[in-house]
Symmetry: C2
Subunit: 108 residues, 2 copies
Amino acid sequence: MTTDCIFCKILAGTIPAKKIYEDDDVIAFNDIKPMAKVHFLIVPKLHVEGLKACDISHQNLLGKMLLLAPKLAAEQGLVGFKTLINTGREGGQEVFHIHVHVFGGGVA
Amino acid sequence: MTTDCIFCKILAGTIPAKKIYEDDDVIAFNDIKPMAKVHFLIVPKLHVEGLKACDISHQNLLGKMLLLAPKLAAEQGLVGFKTLINTGREGGQEVFHIHVHVFGGGVA
């Protein structure tokens, strides 16, 4: 946890979020600026800045996050969906705690 | 390998592609319809229809594909980039052999 990270604050419960899933490693909650009718984030509990900061020790976690996407997307009523990771400011990353966007269902 | 899959044909060498990386598990090659100045695909050699068809046996492979993205993106000169998986026709998937789009560097 880092004290200035909004996702760490959500994980700590000091900032609210509409949580749709949680286990020992990750949580998922709705994006506050949805780009689609359904748009949630899969976020690891471990604070890692982004995909560039990941190494072999994060391989299982990254795989787990992707495997969760279809399960949670189906629970949210999506037939098809997109999974997106933005890396670096030039890649559109806004929160520097790695997260997978999962979205679909048409324009919000 | 399935005989009607364009990515399996690229893997078999019967359809050409501008390959930028290959190892025992995956290849990466430039997208033929780039959405950005740099746009390549990371494709497993194993034919899996898409993310919905993945299970725990694919966790390592999925993690490996994501870990490869920053390495190859840097080699292609990208500082920031996006990694995207489209799942299902409703999710924009066009080739039903799982692949990670990696792109960045501005409009093509």
